[in-house]
């Protein structure tokens, strides 16, 4: 897949080479804030092929500007990018549930995306006003629904490290891990320059890459 891009295309190498050969499946990237720098890159990869992309946002993270920068950089029309990426935001875990269980299918039918990005879906599940058992059950429903949809398209989940204060709910991440085909840990290496990202594969193989991420200016983009 990656062979069709120019040598210095931002889409060459990881993270995209890690998923680009797949027909479908759930790919979990979890880590620190560097994680969100991957989002425009991932979206741009499919948008540049004239496809539409769905973006399910659990933490009001969506920021269009890095995507505009990326489009310009690779000689695409930013407006086409912006009108082909479809966003829905959830502010509670029940909304996230409704988004994945009810609305996602109609989004897929309408837009035929090859790539669906779930951004910080667990954030809404850390809300203590929702009983733990209820949040957990809802999450399990979501995970089941995703794995049913996954064979035909790529789902990328971007999940930040749970805060320590998430308490017992930190284990929610492991539910995502069980369902993922491949798992990558994403961090900004402490010893490297600001503009580098380290990706460590945890499943199925143990591998590591460090690469610069300045190309799409993605690192600055996401709040």
């Amino acid at each position: 897949m990656s062979a069709q891009f120019d040598f210095d295309s931002p889409f060459q190498g990881p993270p995209l080479s890690l998923i680009s050969d797949a027909k479908g499946g759930i790919f979990l990237f979890y880590g620190d804030a560097a994680l969100f720098g991957l989002a425009p890159l991932l979206a741009g990869w499919r948008l540049s092929q004239g496809e539409r992309v769905l973006f399910l946002d659990g933490d009001n993270r969506f920021n269009p500007y890095p995507l505009v920068d990326l489009a310009k950089e690779i000689g695409h029309d930013p407006n086409t990018f912006l009108s082909s990426l479809f966003v829905s935001r959830a502010f509670t875990c029940h909304q996230m549930g409704s988004l994945v269980l009810n609305q996602l299918q109609s989004g897929i039918t309408a837009h035929h995306p090859r790539l669906v990005i779930l951004c910080a879906p667990l954030e809404t599940f850390y809300d203590e006003s929702v009983p733990l058992i209820e949040a957990k059950n809802l999450l399990l429903h979501i995970v089941t629904a995703l794995s049913q949809l996954a064979p035909d398209r790529i789902f990328v989940i971007l999940s930040p490290f749970p805060k320590k204060s998430a308490g017992r709910r930190t284990f929610f991440l492991s539910h995502l891990k069980t369902t993922a085909k491949r798992i990558f840990r994403v961090e900004r290496p402490g010893d490297a320059s600001e503009a580098a990202i380290r990706i460590t594969e945890e499943k199925p193989e143990a591998r590591q890459w460090v690469f610069p991420i300045e190309a799409p200016r993605a690192a600055q983009g996401y709040r």
Partner: protein, 742 residues
């Protein structure tokens, strides 16, 4: 039977007991009556017929006294009647259990055939009771009851829309720790202080048992209706209760016999982009406990505002004290829905519909702002659209069930492509009409009342209503509300942008120059313009924009200070000004900020008082040397080391748990200090500290928690002096650098 008794008085407390509701009434003589009203609450289940049948069987397994029958109700979004199951629970104490049981069915893995929808199931029992019986807390009523207290009839002689209602005679016991208002577990031990009937006493004793005994004797002797505490929720009551339990001493906090004090867990949550913390709560039965440091409404509007909200929302006073005004407003909307036979959906489930990133850019713009023209101005008029967002919702029928309806695609919202229903009046606008009207009446009463005490009461009530509007329908709040929908919020901001632009054009057309505008306010200038000119302009704008705009007044002088990071640009909504009436208006500067030390606030207020005597820009400049003298005086006091720590304490709200902090910010340092002393801290909770040595190598030497700082420490004179200097410099118009000579 003529053995029935009649009572006249105010509904004081309400809570579920076996088979019904306990209702406490206080009569005009202050006498309390403990009554009982049988009550069987209902909730509803909707969904595919097969699943409904299965849920019947499942509920039957509970073997609790209840009735399930077929019923129907209006689905909120579509407005259509749908068939539902009604589950009536004969003992309200079983209600939560039955609801949880049904939810657990929904959460079971592998169920087939579509989801169940629950309705009216997460209202509190007092709310459900009040909605059903048309009662409200503090309502004045006449009750007919049997001699055992069982209610036969209640006749309300009061309305939530009344503005001249009375409050029952309440005996109040004030409870706090001696000394400053520091949270008790954030400092060393201090004695308890109790104030009742104007007498204040310190509880002293050789041990905890003696303190508990003394406090219990006071409760018995005075039988207060309200315990008004400072930090009673997280500290004082739990401490007293724990001591009483350990020592095996009685502590009769409740009036209801054989009932435990209700403990609610603390929690932290996100609201308006910040972490908010709610302390653990201790709620009483038959008596109120209100912690004035754990109540937004009491903090902002005193008890009058709280009572107003409890009446309107039908949420009992103790609960209302500890909840947000948004919850109160949601309750009012739910009541309206309840009266209409609308099924109240359980939890807010609908997420935003998919929209393209370009649509999102268009719709998610928020309010319109024109950056201020920097510097000192004179003779400036201010115009404000009163309660702009709610007014727009009422005017244009903006509500979650009216936005993008299926019947009125032609009724477009400007700019963003949504449309609104013209056929069905929305729930939110219907709620807003009487609410806005009531606030307008209070504002009018406040202006016309001759008795200052009465004026204050009206002001507190209107201010409570204002907070309700601001927090629920403000720039952030509406998106997440139960009866909120992002698309509806986008429609409001689109209309708001249009109105502000229109107002600007009308003003400029009339020869005014615009200096600054933000969302719903404009600052205008025209040489020689009189109040009458501004009033005439308001009339024109109100007419053309179709929502009311009000004239705030003419400023003698008005200063827009530059941004601290870029001296060339101003900061929206940051200014200080003085109206011709002599009243000052300050926004975004130190005196208004919650994290400014009292000392800095005090000095800046002194400086503003000096400046407020100026009647124009020239007078302002002439007063600056006096401001400089004021600065010198307090700077010298700082340098002498004489300023008490308490005046230098800086309060901050924790954005994270202590262990989640990565960098050594002052908050992080002090949070860790407190955590090290065994203080339990959670995100959103406030801490206060004194800066001791900003440049210290060892982070823990840079700042200390106010509650534990002692004479071995000194404050950082240099740092506080620079804070003081900043507080003065913000008052300096461009080009004037008074401090260089000081």
């Amino acid at each position: 039977m003529s053995s029935d008794l009649k009572y006249k008085g105010w509904i004081f407390d309400l809570y579920p007991v076996y088979g019904g509701m306990r209702l406490w009434l206080i009569d005009a003589a202050g006498k309390k009556h403990r009554l009982f009203d049988a009550f069987a609450p209902s909730f509803y289940i909707g969904g595919p017929a097969a699943r409904l049948r299965a849920s019947c069987t499942f509920i039957g397994k509970l073997k609790l006294p209840l009735r399930i029958d077929k019923s129907e109700g209006i689905e909120f979004y579509s407005g259509k009647n749908i068939p539902v199951l009604r589950v009536t629970v004969f003992n309200p104490l079983h209600f939560a259990k039955v609801v949880q049981w049904v939810i657990s069915l929904e959460n079971k893995k592998g169920h087939q055939g579509g989801a169940l929808a629950l309705y009216n199931c997460d209202l509190s029992l007092p709310q459900l009771y009040c909605f059903t019986k048309r009662l409200f807390p503090l309502a004045f009523c006449e009750i007919e009851a049997e001699s055992n207290g069982a209610i036969k009839a209640i006749a309300i002689q009061d309305s939530i829309w009344d503005t001249d209602y009375s409050i029952p005679p309440l005996s109040i016991l004030k409870l706090r720790m001696e000394g400053e208002h520091i949270r008790p577990d954030h400092c060393g031990p201090r004695p308890l202080e109790v104030e009742i009937e104007g007498q204040c006493r310190t509880l002293e004793g050789s041990d905890d048992a003696a303190i508990v005994d003394q406090f219990n004797r006071i409760l018995e002797q005075y039988d207060p209706d309200l315990i008004l505490s400072e930090w009673g929720d997280p500290c004082i009551l739990p401490q007293l209760m724990q001591s009483a339990q350990h020592m095996g001493r009685p502590l009769a906090l409740n009036r209801e016999p054989n009932k435990k004090v209700q403990a609610k867990k603390e929690r932290s949550y996100f609201s308006y982009g910040a972490v908010v913390h709610r302390s653990a709560a201790r709620l009483l039965f038959g008596r109120w406990h209100i912690d004035r440091f754990n109540s937004f409404l009491v903090g902002q509007t005193a008890l009058e505002g709280l009572f107003e909200f409890a009446r309107l929302s039908r949420i009992p006073v103790q609960q209302m004290a500890r909840t947000s005004t948004g919850t109160g407003i949601t309750s009012m909307q739910m009541d309206l829905a309840f009266q209409d036979g609308i099924l109240i959906p359980w939890r807010k489930r609908e997420a935003e519909g998919f929209k393209s990133a370009s649509q999102l850019l268009l719709t998610d713009k928020g309010g319109l702002t024109y950056a201020p023209i920097l510097g000192l101005h004179e003779a400036i008029g201010e115009l404000d659209f009163a309660s702009m967002y709610p007014s727009l919702m009422a005017k244009y029928n903006i509500s979650p069930e009216t936005i993008n309806c299926t019947c009125c695609p032609e009724n477009r919202v400007p700019e963003i492509g949504h449309h609104l229903c013209k056929k069905r009046r929305g729930l939110v606008p219907r709620f807003l009409e009487p609410f806005l009207e009531k606030r307008a009446r209070y504002k009018h009463l406040k202006k016309t009342a001759s008795d200052p005490a009465q004026r204050r009461i009206y002001d507190e009530r209107q201010s409570a209503l204002k907070w309700g509007l601001v927090t629920t329908f403000g720039y952030q709040g509406y998106k997440n509300a139960r009866f909120g929908k992002i698309e509806a919020h986008e429609a409001i901001t689109a209309y708001a942008r249009e109105k502000l632009l229109q107002a600007k054009e009308i003003a400029e057309d009339a020869g005014f120059e615009m200096l600054h505008a933000i969302v719903d306010s404009l600052w205008l200038k025209q040489v020689g313009a009189t109040e009458a000119d501004y009033e005439a302009l308001c009339e024109r704008i109100s007419r053309d924009c179709e929502i009311p705009i009000a004239f705030e007044g003419i400023y003698s002088w008005l200063l827009f200070p530059p941004s601290k990071t870029n001296p060339k640009i101003g900061v929206p909504n940051r200014y200080l000004g003085c109206f011709q009436s002599g009243k000052t208006k300050l926004r975004g500067i130190e005196v208004r900020r919650g994290d400014t030390a009292y000392f800095i606030k005090k000095v800046q207020q002194n400086m503003i008082d000096i400046l407020s005597k100026a009647s124009d820009a020239q007078g302002y400049r002439a007063a600056l040397p006096e401001v400089g003298t004021c600065f010198e005086k307090y700077r010298d006091q700082l340098r002498s080391g004489q300023v008490p720590f308490f005046e230098l304490a800086i309060a901050k709200s924790l954005s994270k748990a202590p262990e989640d902090y990565q960098k050594a910010s002052l908050s992080a340092i002090v949070a860790k200090e407190l955590a090290g002393r065994g203080v339990h801290l959670v995100p959103g909770q406030a801490i206060a500290y004194v800066i001791t040595d900003m440049k210290a190598k060892l982070p823990s030497d840079r700042a200390r928690a106010i509650g534990f700082i002692d004479g071995a420490w000194a404050y950082d004179v240099e740092k506080y002096e620079s804070l003081l200097r900043e507080a003065m410099e913000v008052l300096m118009p461009k080009g004037i650098h008074l401090h260089q000579s000081i």
